[in-house]
C-alpha cells in the first residue's frame, strides 16, 4: 500500500474543507438551528412527546443522519468529480497508486468531514434540547458506518456523473425523499398500517431507527435489522467500487 499517497490525497481533500471553514462549520449549525425552530417549536408544540421522548429530542438523531448522509454524498462525489471535471485526474491515473488507495483517500476525507459535521450538529442540538445517549458505542458505530457508506455512495456518483446536473440527481431525487420519509421527523408507528408496511421498504428507516435506538433505546425496527441493513449497504457500495476498479469504468479509457 502506498500510504504516503493516501495521506497526500486525504490532506489535499481536507485542505479544501478547511479553506471553506465558515461554510463547512456554519451551514450545518444554522440549518440544524432552523430545523429546531421550525419543526421543534412549531410541530413540537402539537406533538409533545413520542414514546416518552420530547419531540425536539426525538428528531435529533434523524437530523444528524439527514446532514451526515447529504454531506457524505456531496463531499465524496465532488472530491472525485472535480479532478475529472478539471482534468487533474491525469495525475491520479499516472501515479503509482491503485484504485483502492484512491478510494481510501477520497472516501476517508469525505467521511471525516461528514463525521465532523455530525458531531457539530450533535453539540448544537444540546443547546436546544436535553439529549441522552444510552448506547454511546452503538451511536458512534452507526454514525461512522453511515459516514463511510454514504461517502462510498458519493464516490460512485462522482465517478458515474458526467456533468454537474447528474451530481445532484441522486441526492435530490432519491436520497432526500428517502430520508424525509424514513422517520426523521416521526416514528413510523404514527403512520397508518399500510404506510407502515410500505415504509419498511425504505432502507433509510433502518438506519435512522438504529441510530435513534442508540440515543433513547427506541426503535421502529429491531436493532439487528438496522445493523444488517447498514452493513449490507456498505457491502453493496464496496461491491460496486470493486467492479469499477476491475473494469476502469468511466475512469480509464
Amino acid at each position: 500500500m502506498n500510504w504516503t499517497a493516501i495521506a497526500a490525497i486525504y490532506r489535499f481533500e481536507m485542505a479544501r474543507f478547511f479553506r471553506t471553514m465558515m461554510q463547512s462549520f456554519l451551514s450545518p449549525v444554522l440549518s440544524t438551528s432552523l430545523y429546531f425552530v421550525v419543526f421543534g417549536t412549531a410541530i413540537g408544540s402539537r406533538i409533545q412527546e413520542v414514546e416518552g421522548v420530547s419531540y425536539g429530542a426525538f428528531i435529533v438523531p434523524g437530523l444528524i443522519m439527514l446532514s451526515v448522509v447529504m454531506l457524505a454524498i456531496s463531499n465524496a462525489s465532488f472530491g472525485i468529480y472535480f479532478p475529472k471535471f478539471l482534468g487533474t485526474i491525469y495525475e491520479l491515473l499516472s501515479a503509482p497508486v491503485n484504485f483502492i488507495e484512491i478510494v481510501i483517500g477520497y472516501v476517508g476525507a469525505a467521511a471525516t468531514k461528514s463525521l465532523f459535521v455530525g458531531i457539530v450538529i450533535l453539540i448544537t442540538a444540546t443547546f436546544f434540547v436535553d439529549i441522552r445517549i444510552e448506547h454511546p458505542f452503538a451511536m458512534a458505530a452507526f454514525l461512522i458506518l453511515s459516514c463511510l457508506s454514504f461517502s462510498l455512495l458519493g464516490f460512485i456518483i462522482g465517478i458515474w456523473a458526467s456533468n454537474f446536473e447528474q451530481m445532484s440527481l441522486v441526492p435530490q431525487l432519491v436520497v432526500t425523499p428517502l430520508i424525509f420519509l424514513g422517520g426523521t421527523f416521526y416514528s413510523i408507528s404514527m403512520l397508518p398500517p399500510v404506510w407502515q408496511t410500505i415504509t419498511l421498504f425504505n432502507p433509510v428507516v433502518y438506519l435512522i431507527s438504529g441510530f435513534r435506538w442508540s440515543f433513547y433505546g427506541l426503535a421502529d425496527v429491531p436493532i439487528v435489522y438496522s445493523l444488517l441493513a447498514i452493513l449490507a449497504f456498505t457491502g453493496l457500495c464496496l461491491g460496486i467500487i470493486g467492479w469499477i476498479f476491475k473494469t476502469g469504468w468511466r475512469i480509464r479509457s
Binding site: 504516503t4 499517497a5 495521506a7 491525469y90 497508486v97
Partner: protein, 309 residues
C-alpha cells in the same frame, strides 16, 4: 547506452473500432531527448497516455527501466513524470501545496528543500503562496512542470510543452530541457513545432495515423533526407541552360537569372567544383551563390503527404 523505455507492438483500439495506435514499437535510450512529431490526431498523446497509465493498452508490452507498466506499475510509474498538454490544475490550491501533493502521490515524503529547489529552478518561488487561479498561463505551465518533477522522475514526458507559449517561456523551456538532460533525465516530447525538434532533440520520431513512420537520429535524418541546393545567380538572365551544362542536374528559375543545382550531401563527389568551372566556361557571370538545405519541416511534410498518397 541502456534502454530505459521499451515499447513493443503497442496497440490501442476503442469500442467504436477506432485504432489510435497500430502496433508501435520503439526503444528509448537513457538520457536522450526524443521528439515525436505528427499532425493532430496522429496518436502522439495516446502513446504517452498509454505509457503513463492513463489509457489501458489493447495489446503490447511497455517497460520502463525494466518494469512492466501493467504488472509492475508502481515501480514503472515512479520513474515517469508527465506534463500534460492541457493546463489542468486545481484553481484554489496554492502552488506549494499542489507540488507537495504530487510528491506525496508518488510515495515520497514532503521534502521542503527539494520542493524549494524545484520551485526556484522554475521561477515559481515567489509565487509559492499564491493560489493557482492567480497565476498567468505561462506560470501555470511552469507549475505543471514542477508537479511532474516533484518526484524526481528518470523519464519525463512533455506533451506539446510549448503550445501557446510565448517566446521567452519557450526559450526557458528549452534551457530547462537541456539542464534535465545534463542531469541524466530522458525526455520524450511531442510537438507540432518542427523547429523545436530541430533545436533540442537527439532523435526524431514521426507518427501518423497511429503508426510510427520513422525514427532516426536527427542529424542522420537531416543528412539522409535533406537535399541541398546551390542557387547560382547570374548577372544576366538566359533563356535556356547552355548545352555545355546539360550534364549537370540543373534547373533554370522562372526569371532565367538563377540556376538551381540539387545534390546529395552524402555523395562522395558533390560535383560543385565541376559545375562552377563549367558555368565559367559557358561564359556566364555570377552575381551571387547561395546554398539551401531542406528543413525538418519539409522532410516531415514530404513524409506525411507521401504516406497519404
Amino acid at each position: 547506452m541502456t534502454t530505459i523505455l521499451s515499447i513493443k507492438d503497442l496497440r490501442k483500439s476503442y469500442a467504436d473500432g477506432f485504432e489510435a495506435l497500430k502496433g508501435v514499437s520503439l526503444d528509448i535510450q537513457e538520457g536522450e531527448i526524443l521528439a515525436l512529431l505528427g499532425p493532430n490526431g496522429a496518436g502522439k498523446t495516446t502513446l504517452i497516455s498509454t505509457v503513463c497509465g492513463i489509457t489501458t493498452p489493447t495489446s503490447g508490452v511497455v517497460t520502463v527501466g525494466g518494469h512492466d507498466i501493467q504488472t509492475d506499475f508502481r515501480a514503472a510509474r515512479r520513474m515517469i513524470g508527465l506534463v500534460p498538454q492541457e493546463i489542468a490544475l486545481e484553481p484554489f490550491e496554492k502552488v506549494w501545496n499542489t507540488v507537495r501533493f504530487s510528491r506525496g502521490l508518488f510515495g515520497y515524503s514532503s521534502d521542503s528543500a527539494r520542493i524549494e529547489e524545484i520551485l526556484r529552478k522554475l521561477s515559481l518561488w515567489d509565487k509559492r503562496k499564491n493560489a493557482i487561479k492567480e497565476l498567468s498561463g505561462g506560470m501555470k505551465r511552469r507549475v505543471l512542470i514542477a508537479k511532474a518533477l516533484a518526484h524526481e522522475p528518470r523519464v519525463l514526458f512533455l506533451d506539446e510543452p510549448t503550445a501557446g507559449v510565448d517566446v521567452e517561456l519557450r526559450k526557458d523551456m528549452w534551457e530547462m530541457v537541456a539542464e534535465l538532460k545534463q542531469a541524466g533525465v530522458t525526455i520524450i516530447l511531442t510537438t507540432h513545432y518542427i523547429e523545436e525538434a530541430e533545436a533540442i532533440a537527439d532523435r526524431v520520431g514521426v507518427i501518423d495515423k497511429g503508426e510510427l513512420l520513422l525514427m532516426q537520429d536527427k542529424d542522420t535524418l537531416m543528412a539522409q533526407m535533406g537535399k541541398k541546393q546551390i542557387e547560382v545567380m547570374l548577372t544576366e538572365a538566359i533563356s535556356e541552360i547552355p548545352g555545355c551544362l546539360a550534364g549537370h542536374n540543373l534547373a533554370l528559375n522562372g526569371n532565367g537569372d538563377t540556376l538551381v543545382y540539387t545534390y546529395d550531401t552524402n555523395a562522395d563527389r558533390t560535383g560543385i567544383t565541376t559545375l562552377l568551372n563549367d558555368v565559367a566556361q559557358a561564359g556566364l557571370v555570377l552575381r551571387d551563390v547561395q546554398t539551401r538545405q531542406s528543413s525538418l519541416e519539409e522532410i516531415f511534410v514530404n513524409l506525411v503527404s507521401g504516406e497519404a498518397a
